[in-house]
Symmetry: C2
Subunit: 421 residues, 2 copies
Amino acid sequence: MSKFIEFVIRKARGSNTLKRAYKSTVSSYLNTHVSEITPFNPIHSSLEGKRINLLVPSINKEHVFGGISTAINFYDELVLASQGYSRRIITTDACPESEDLDRFPNYTLVTCEVDAEYRSQIVPFNDRYNKTIPVSKDDIFIATSWWTAYFAQRIVKWQSEYYGQEIKKVIYFIQDFEPGFYPWSSQYSLAESTYKYKGPQIAIFNSSLLMDFVIQQGYSFTEKYSFEPKLNTALKERLVPVKDMNKQKKILIYGRPSVARNAFTLIVEALRTWVWSYPNASQWEIISAGEQHNDIDIGNGVTIKSKGKMSLDEYAEELKSSAVGLSLMISPHPSYPPLEMAHFGVLVLTNNYANKNLSNLHGNITSLEELNTDVIANALSDLCAKFEYDNSIGTRSLSSMESYINNKKQFDFIDDVIKNL
Amino acid sequence: MSKFIEFVIRKARGSNTLKRAYKSTVSSYLNTHVSEITPFNPIHSSLEGKRINLLVPSINKEHVFGGISTAINFYDELVLASQGYSRRIITTDACPESEDLDRFPNYTLVTCEVDAEYRSQIVPFNDRYNKTIPVSKDDIFIATSWWTAYFAQRIVKWQSEYYGQEIKKVIYFIQDFEPGFYPWSSQYSLAESTYKYKGPQIAIFNSSLLMDFVIQQGYSFTEKYSFEPKLNTALKERLVPVKDMNKQKKILIYGRPSVARNAFTLIVEALRTWVWSYPNASQWEIISAGEQHNDIDIGNGVTIKSKGKMSLDEYAEELKSSAVGLSLMISPHPSYPPLEMAHFGVLVLTNNYANKNLSNLHGNITSLEELNTDVIANALSDLCAKFEYDNSIGTRSLSSMESYINNKKQFDFIDDVIKNL
């Protein structure tokens, strides 16, 4: 080998990022299980009468927000509308602590070994290896995530064979296209299999955008319903007249490093481009809301300041005082922050995904078709420049989404669901 | 809190799998960079005359198989057909060692700082922070992965602005829908952005199945071509007459724990179901080929024996002696093992994905629409039972894919690509 070749190799060997891209060695620990599908084994129950079972990963305080909170609200309304069904909440991934049970004052905590008659039960079933849970001939199941749907689809098959009856409908509360939470993989396939299920299934979608996407992908359901996002009640109470909004040169980002589909690294990389391309960048403040993380120096004297998961009061203050927002969601689900920001007069930048284009929903929303650092930085500069030219621009069209802020029922199809159970 | 509640909580708290599903805390190290898009900065080159640049992650021996090997073959044929273009291989993720250069005897290794005139160059550009690489007005780029396409799309823009000329076409050699390698995330979006690129781009797809999938997703390209898989030459030489195949009760699985889309954990979980549901399971041997891993005891006295990445001789022997195969690929790409197995008389089980259904291609292939452990185990039992009933069943239709085993050129569109550059 020539000296020159050795020199070039030595020079270039510094950073080797290939491991990331072509990871061909397997670490000594070999995972051979899909932990999500740890068997969920039913056993005879002598109970009679309809009972709604909510299969939910957790009801622990630290998990009950966003998706799980919405699922519990739906479940509560369904039970109420049923006028007399018993109810059982089964947690599949975590066991509630005593303080978590405060939100469920009328429920009795029951162990899975007991075929208990309480009309309102909570049964932790996360630690279920070699255990069974009583399932009666009249039990009805609501699934709230792909693996709870996987269980429900197998329970109703067992129930049908064991009690000699038709297969009961599964109620599948779908809040995102969950295969998209994984690379193409075992989990992706198993999540997708819950949409390909051939038994009777009532799909209830969080948003018509998500429902349209899933149907366009070719999946079908016995019945399907969708509900639309609504402005959080506490935030609605904090919506103030335009004159009381004090818009400043501040960019509010939805910064959740642990949630891949919120594309945190892409946001940061785009802001690194923006600080050098937008002439007035150093006059702007950047606030990250959603999840606590270290502050990030992005160059040119600008730092992203993390405010973490704020109280609704604090969040409302940020919404009222921010001129520009940046919130990405790589999913057909609309996601809440862009809608919240838009209604609080923030010029918000977000992204299209498949059939999703939120710019149709509110004049304050700009939605990008293609995502890369340059495109995001340029669009952000446009919004900042618009605000600098006219600082009341975001506060003019505050109520373009009537359904988002009116007081109508969110789950207006619940009687139809009950009727067909 | 009652004693009873405390008891239930204590009992149920054993396993808490929720961390997996709801990872809401961020580890102390915060990644704020997308390492794949570390800037790739061009600089003036005074060279003239067309030069084909292959942007490839690595040409190191340990990486040059499968996709990279196919891309290099295409590049070699393109250069040959060009009748006189210069050539430069630029590695973006790894630096070649001296033994890696043996495969490229006519190339000169050049550092990125030099605007060298050699007609065949290899330039390592993995360690490129604060560095530049000379790009002339006549340079043409071939991208072979999403991040090399990301670079190419930006280089030709710079080239157009810097030299005052039209934007040159990017040649994008696409061997899978790479966004599918990620959950919905920053990387997913950036990978997808390379298909949404609005500039002139020639897409060359590894298989018409993949091309059809990408086009059905709504992406478009200035020109598009596809080529079909061909049986590896060395394997073709080892294809023996039916009478010399010695089929045994052996299941050959394509077992690659590090490649998510090969769904290794799903295969193992399905085999765990199969060993207890198929009466003769303990008479069967299970061999895993593709990547070395620990042997796995799956119960009922059956063990998956890992043979790792075998030599082609060893692999051919396994193909000839295996009765049944199981090879999953969560992607529209056909993947090679199911086709290889089928042509060696193996009854092979694989999966559909979107428009992909390999059972149309060969009588020995069974392809599942829905993937879950029960469905896979049942289908596997069917194939094993078929073989036990008639042990020559797999060796009857060995040549149903004429294009897969004939000697015609794989890249028969190369003259069209050259003509339009």
